[in-house]
């Protein structure tokens, strides 16, 4: 999916305008987005904590849908900066309890209509990332985070980066596939700190 845009730029612009063939991501216009959103609004209903406002696209989703997750730098940068500015970074040490962090990373609950809001929500981290080498049942959609702190240290800057990445990954890569776990309200400040602990604490299994 990702190589599609650069590839079609490399061929000709006309190739990009042709209708998508099977297997490719089709071009989407602002009009298409409005139409899709209208269809979803008609077809979906609120259930549990999953309210209908989730159908509405914000600026990030709009940009990524319009550009097949590969928007021009000039449009991506200002949006990334705005997302970064909106992260409420806590003061002081951001390294929480890695043991609690491990439980949060393991839990795939949170923000679904079947989840009771606020009750033991997790970050679903292991669904996509390798973290502790003791957990072989990890997904591979995201990069491996094994040895994350061992490789990078636990400086104030690194703590801030890890916190920010978990809070809102789109502040660093506007079309990142990773959910904006803090921004979305899935994880709270303490939970994100505990995950930072899991990533950076030298005693965390991630860094063994």
């Amino acid at each position: 999916m990702r190589p599609f845009l650069p590839m079609c730029f490399a061929v000709t612009l006309a190739a990009c305008a042709a209708p998508a063939t099977v297997g490719e991501r089709p071009d989407v216009s602002p009009g298409d987005l409005d139409k899709i959103t209208a269809v979803l609004k008609h077809d979906f209903h609120e259930r549990g904590q999953a309210r209908m406002d989730r159908i509405e696209l914000d600026a990030v989703q709009r940009l990524c849908n319009l550009h097949a997750d590969n928007p021009p730098e000039a449009l991506a940068k200002p949006l990334e900066e705005a997302q970064l500015k909106a992260i409420p970074f806590p003061q002081g040490n951001l390294i929480g309890d890695w043991k609690r962090g491990e439980r949060i990373a393991q839990s795939g609950r949170g923000s679904m209509w079947s989840d009771k809001p606020g009750v033991q929500d997790g970050g679903s981290c292991y669904n996509c990332h390798q973290l502790s080498p003791r957990e072989p049942a990890h997904g591979t959609l995201g990069p491996s985070l094994a040895g994350f702190g061992k490789l990078r240290g636990a400086s104030a800057e690194m703590q801030k980066y890890a916190y920010g990445r978990i809070y809102n990954s789109k502040a660093y890569n506007v079309c990142s596939q990773m959910p904006r776990l803090g921004h979305a309200g899935t994880l709270n400040e303490q939970q994100i700190k505990d995950l930072v602990g899991l990533l950076l604490d030298p005693a965390s299994p991630v860094n063994q």
């Binding site: 999916m1 990702r2 998508a20 099977v22 297997g23 490719e24 991501r25 089709p26 989407v28 298409d32 899709i36 959103t37 269809v39 979803l40 008609h42 077809d43 979906f44 209903h45 609120e46 259930r47 999953a50 309210r51 209908m52 989730r54 159908i55 696209l57 990030v60 989703q61 990524c64 849908n65 097949a68 997750d69 923000s111 679904m112 209509w113 079947s114 292991y126 669904n127 996509c128 049942a137 990890h138 997904g139 591979t140 959609l141 789109k170 596939q177 959910p179 904006r180 979305a184 309200g185 899935t186």
Partner: protein
């Protein structure tokens, strides 16, 4: 296969299995004993059962091959139906027949569309019975009517449409080759080589939940995990996605209802 017979064969074959891992043996046993035939039988009974205000059966329901014709019907869906002036998949078409032929209200007919291990739903039984009669036939959903083409195109766009609290689209999980969630492999469903083997086996009996699952259920449960609100049963959205997926699997011989992990 008759359940007792399956058990006898299994016992007879037991010594030959000794070399395999216990897990492989468990899987084989679970698959051998999955009660798909029971669902098909239950579906046939419901197809012929008179119910609703009109006290009618579904036997005159037209699934695209003519009233009451079941052979190959599932492999030809979704398709455009002139009487309803819309594209329908198996389940939305069954719902249409329940309301028109049997006179049931949409509300009554959709009260419980997804069942569980203890009590499967009417849609699940009927899907098993009807899908079986396309076994061996090539998947060939409607592709020519303008509304069929529109459904395909909408489904294709929906597949990649990122929305919701977690910014997910179908492609977030089913968009890159060789990836997995936890230990589950993720097929890239927008590509024929992955869509074909998968779509050829739905609906299916799921061993892990002891229940029979349909494509409408699959769409519904994916949207749940995508952190979206809930799609209406048989809606334009879910039918368009099913139309896109079945079209991507076009030409594959249907071999369901299958048994899944």
């Amino acid at each position: 296969m008759n359940l007792k017979l399956a058990l006898v064969l299994l016992l007879a074959a037991a010594p030959a299995l000794a070399q395999q891992s216990p897990y492989a043996e468990y899987q084989r046993m679970a698959l051998e004993n999955a009660p798909v035939e029971l669902f098909e039988q239950g579906g046939e009974d419901l197809w012929k059962k008179r119910q609703g205000p009109k006290n009618a059966s579904l036997e005159q329901c037209d699934l695209g091959q003519g009233p009451g014709v079941l052979k190959g019907a599932y492999a030809g869906l979704p398709r455009y139906f002139a009487d309803a002036d819309r594209v329908m998949d198996l389940e939305s078409r069954l719902l249409y027949c329940m309301t028109t032929l049997q006179g049931r209200s949409r509300e009554a007919a959709t009260k419980r569309v997804f069942g569980n291990a203890d009590t499967p739903s009417e849609m699940e039984y009927l899907s098993a019975y009807i899908a079986r009669q396309s076994n061996g036939m090539k998947i060939a959903p409607g592709r020519t009517h303008p509304k069929e083409r529109a459904a395909y195109e909408l489904g294709q766009k929906l597949f990649f449409h990122r929305a919701g609290t977690w910014d997910f689209s179908c492609a977030s999980c089913h968009g890159e080759e060789g990836k997995r969630i936890r230990m589950s492999d993720l097929p890239v469903l927008s590509k024929p080589q992955y869509a074909r083997p998968l779509m050829a086996t739905w609906p299916a009996y799921r061993v892990s939940t002891s229940s029979f699952v349909t494509l409408q259920w699959r769409m519904n449960d994916c949207y749940r995990q995508m952190r979206m609100p809930e799609p209406l049963f048989g809606s334009e959205t879910t039918v368009a996605l099913i139309a896109f997926l079945m079209a991507t699997a076009e030409g594959e011989p249907y071999r369901g209802p299958a048994i899944k992990r």
